[in-house]
Symmetry: C2
Subunit: 341 residues, 2 copies
């Protein structure tokens, strides 16, 4: 606290107005004469006044803070989503307090407490460790993205549609056997829809298929190991067949692609590949990878709209709270590239 800052009081003394008038200059300038507006404006520069929104918060209760808990920024999906959310400042004016959760439930719980203590007006949760039931119990506006969302408002990609698109594309590319590689997801998370989409298409069109549900690990090396093993199995099991592989994310799809190219020098004719997400890696891979592109900008936008709606409602004299959570769905976009042509 080096030098104390200039306050409304100082400006009031300097201009011979009252604090009230100074406040009005900021919040309702039209109620002052143009002449007096100018006087105050001059005083502001003369004294080098610096707003203090903290004091304003205490006085009117509106922090314009939104808390974000995101699992990591390592995946392009998350960093891009965070970018889009932060950019909404231009539209809505909310400031963001960001925490990286690293999938630790108790740590994230502590983050939420910290956020609440700063009187955030709402929260955006991308991490999946804390149940939506518990989240809802905090009793503040919340939107979750792409995670279990039974008790919270949410915005998700239409994963089921994405699964259908990817699977259909592989089928249309002339594959006789389709393989879907994914983590062993709970049916409660939206991404499970990708598995359902895959299965529904295969069963409806009576396509031979295999579902490989397995955690590929968190490091590049683990992924290489796991996918090598899987590839080896597929090679012997489906020798001579045209194999269509639908992998649940582009990073893993790229690893698989590189394994194939290292082995055969190029993508063999009896392999077709589709990823998921639409990350930059899918485009910059040695052969551009077909993928299901998530509309991150749109998801972020819907998220903010849904959150702002709830936050606005709370500011009314008689807030009408939602009787049931709203779930929005954003359709992904199939990106056909060279691994399916």
């Amino acid at each position: 606290m080096a030098k104390k800052s200039v306050t409304f009081n100082d400006i009031a003394k300097y201009t011979n107005f009252s604090k009230t008038t100074i406040s009005r200059y900021f919040n309702n300038p039209d109620s002052l004469t143009l002449e007096n507006q100018q006087k105050i404006a001059d005083a502001l520069v003369a004294l080098n006044y610096q707003e203090n929104k903290v004091a304003r918060i205490l006085a009117n209760g509106k922090t314009e803070f939104v808390g974000i808990i995101i699992p990591n920024l390592y995946f392009h999906y998350y960093s891009q989503m965070l970018t889009e959310i932060l950019s909404s400042y231009e539209t809505f004016g909310y400031k963001f307090l960001v925490f990286v959760g690293n999938d630790n439930e108790n740590v994230e719980r502590q983050y939420i407490q910290e956020l609440l203590s700063y009187k955030i007006e709402g929260m955006i949760i991308l991490s999946g460790t804390i149940s939506s039931k518990e989240l809802a119990s905090y009793n503040i506006p919340i939107v979750t993205i792409e995670r279990e969302d039974e008790y919270t408002c949410s915005v998700n990609s239409d994963n089921y549609m994405g699964g259908i698109q990817a699977t259909s594309l592989l089928h249309k590319s002339g594959c006789d056997v389709l393989i879907h590689i994914n983590s062993d997801l709970s049916p409660k998370v939206p991404a499970y829809g990708r598995i359902r989409g895959f299965l529904d298409v295969c069963e409806e069109r009576q396509i031979e298929h295999e579902l490989i549900l397995k955690d590929l690990g968190n490091t590049f090396e683990e992924q290489v190991k796991q996918l090598s093993d899987i590839l080896e199995t597929l090679e012997s099991k489906y020798a001579g067949r045209k194999k269509g592989i639908f992998i649940s994310n582009d990073t893993a799809a790229n690893v698989m692609l590189n394994l194939l190219i290292k082995k055969y020098g190029s993508l063999p004719d009896d392999y077709r590949l589709v990823g998921f997400d639409g990350s930059p890696i899918s485009k910059s891979a040695i052969i551009p990878i077909s993928t299901v592109g998530q509309q991150i900008e749109k998801i972020a936008d819907e998220t903010m709209k849904l959150l702002v709606m709830q936050m606005d409602e709370r500011k009314k004299r008689k807030p009408v709270l939602l009787d049931a959570p709203i779930h929005k769905v954003v359709t992904p976009v199939l990106l056909r590239r060279e691994t399916t042509s």
Copy 2:
């Protein structure tokens, strides 16, 4: 403002203590008897008390807020840096207000005003649009990372050393002509050191070399176009020679690698390649790319230490401000991989 929240006053009434005692329970619990501590603790749960740090800020002036302005999160370098900075919450307890600048000077200036109005205790600036002179004039603790830093404290990679490492590696790999591709940087930005390092090694060892300073563009497609052109030129200009290419970032290095592989089926023996950054792409490329790895965790750590030091100083009764900015340098780590072997 649905239901007003529980305050020290409510707890005081409930427990028959004064507000002061409740305050002390939080800030200096040892000054209460264990018995009374328990009484208050019980009241806290009974009333479901929720801290209000905003009020505390107004009373004691310490926000524990740090502002961050980062150009984007598209580059892995930035998102990783942000992750590491945010993670320092565990160590230092500072909360972060994050803005994405998108290289727009006036927008970033507006962000800074907003940050100041929330009484942030310090700022971390990764974007380079606003001069360090102007930043310094805000008169609050600042650390800049990897940008022009004449008037601000900063933490940077040892770019010069990185340039030397990359260039030497190419030379040791038996290349007769070395090429460095970079943007047309100002000598004031730390990254210019890479160019100096390249030139110094080449000149000292009398290696034939060429410097290509050119903006590669912001999209993948532009990069492909620019690098194709460059490659074509190099092909004819240095036909038959062993070319060592040092590219200023891994993303571009990966594009160049893919161009070469598409043309020749593999990395030709008369090409060697080194990138910069140590991004995931350098590892997951079709052929793992040698690169100069930036120690992002260490840079983030040094940044926070440097910032906390300044912020702590300001809290003293008689703060001694720095007479000159402190610049810290973190040595990068050469990662030898397959594009130089």
